[in-house]
């Protein structure tokens, strides 16, 4: 419990970098493995219980609830943190359901859960437009892929290539090693905090122009300036969709044009590839 207490006592304001590093390395400890192991046991028991019997199911539910409770002890007590980590847990669960499901339809459902939860996390990170675009693009893609899956897998019994995977015993340790390496690199001493950019100057070309000719433009600029000067102008928080749009169409105009071009080329290519040639024409 002492470890949990030390985790909770981390100040959430920006502080001296060296101090923060030491606190970070102190906040990661082995007691955080408890909810992970409990959750893994709960997941296995639940999957076992669906096939075998009710007592496994009961134990699995107990383990999952214990995992959630023990994990919530580590989360800094704030409402938005709970929502954020709920989205994270949902996304992780969807990803693992996607990994372990045999039926491709259930796998696609798990993927949809994961992607929608990722959109929720993006929303909590105040990336509103990206969250909405992610939902729209992936929802459309998921619907189409669902149609494909249902079209191709009309048989009720499972195919052999859905059941017999390629070397899962080899692939799972590779994944664990990769995840361990990533987590080690992220939590290593000195990895965080990164050097922040100089926030005193404008980071983007997209700052509003000084003199607009029209009255409407003047009013808009005045409004923007009052908004930004009441806060701290030096650190523009990326929370507004209008700011993202302004940045997208000033700083990254060429990239946007190229993105449109590549979309057109991909659409033409997909139509040309998927069109059935009858042999009479062409």
């Amino acid at each position: 419990m002492q470890a949990i207490g030390s985790y909770l006592s981390i100040p959430f304001a920006q502080s001296d970098p060296i101090e923060t590093v030491s606190q970070l390395s102190g906040s990661w400890n082995l007691s955080m493995l408890i909810p992970i192991l409990l959750g893994a046991a709960g997941y296995l028991l639940l999957q076992h219980g669906i096939v075998k019997g009710k007592q496994y199911l009961f134990m699995g539910v107990i383990a999952a609830v214990a995992s959630v409770i023990s994990a919530s002890l580590f989360i800094p007590p704030a409402f938005e943190n709970y929502i954020l980590f709920l989205f994270c847990a949902l996304a992780t669960g969807g990803a693992f359901g996607f990994l372990t499901a045999r039926d491709p339809v259930y796998a696609a459902l798990g993927f949809a859960t994961a992607v929608l939860s990722i959109s929720g996390v993006m929303f909590m990170q105040s990336a509103m437009f990206v969250a909405a675009a992610n939902m729209i693009v992936y929802a459309g893609a998921i619907i189409i892929i669902f149609l494909f899956v249902l079209m191709f897998a009309q048989q009720t019994n499972l195919r052999t290539y859905d059941v017999k995977l390629t070397y899962p015993v080899v692939a799972a340790p590779i994944g664990v090693i990769m995840l361990g390496t990533l987590v080690y690199c992220l939590t290593a001493e000195g990895a965080f905090p990164l050097s922040r950019p100089d926030a005193t100057r404008a980071y983007s070309e997209a700052s509003p122009p000084e003199n607009l000719m029209t009255d409407e433009g003047n009013a808009a600029v005045k409004k923007l300036k009052t908004i930004e000067h009441t806060g701290s102008y030096k650190s523009v928080s990326p929370s507004t969709t209008s700011g993202l749009g302004r940045s997208l169409y000033t700083d990254y105009l060429l990239a946007v044009a190229l993105a449109g071009t590549i979309l057109t080329v991909a659409a033409v290519g997909a139509i040309a590839l998927a069109t059935k040639t009858t042999g009479e024409d062409v």
Partner: protein, 167 residues
């Protein structure tokens, strides 16, 4: 955005990426492999979003929009390829496509095609330079594709106009 929360969310992104990676290694269905790729892209996008929030600028979000664009292109092209492959062999198994070589059947080895004859084909046009009132082009005349042999050519004695009138 505190440093601890940033690290937590980066680990979350790493978990997503690893899940997609393991899925790509293990799955055998073409569509589910493709979904695993999308999962890896989602993990990378999560990284960009977290860093955008950490540094307080829009660069990460712009990058994610570009990633979404490329993912949409990739989805369309990949599904077109899947339909193309499914048409020639009705299965979604990747192992069916493990050998994209010529036939290894020893009884019926694939012979390389030998090109025996080269046909140079030129279109025969409607004869020009004739007065249609004096020498009318017959109604059944068709401008067809003739085969020009190496001996025939411009130096041929018989003129194209005569040939046309013979038809």
């Amino acid at each position: 955005m505190t440093d601890t929360m940033t690290v937590n969310l980066l680990i979350f992104a790493a978990v997503l990426f690893t899940a997609g990676f393991v899925g790509f290694l293990t799955r055998r269905s073409l569509i589910l492999m493709f979904l695993s790729l999308e999962m890896m892209l989602a993990g990378a996008s999560m990284n960009f979003i977290v860093f955008s929030s950490y540094f307080g600028n829009y660069q990460g979000q712009v990058f994610v929009i570009m990633v979404l664009t490329v993912a949409a292109c990739e989805a369309s092209i990949a599904l077109a390829f899947v339909t193309l492959l499914y048409r020639s062999k009705p299965t979604l198994d990747v192992r069916a496509w493990s050998q994209l070589t010529e036939s290894l059947d020893e009884e019926q080895p694939e012979q390389p095609e030998t090109i025996e004859e080269v046909h140079l084909e030129f279109p025969t046009l409607t004869p020009a330079g004739l007065d249609p009132l004096v020498q009318p082009v017959p109604s059944e005349f068709k401008a067809d594709v003739g085969v020009a042999k190496p001996t025939q050519g411009i130096m041929d004695k018989e003129s194209p106009a005569k040939e046309a009138t013979h038809v």
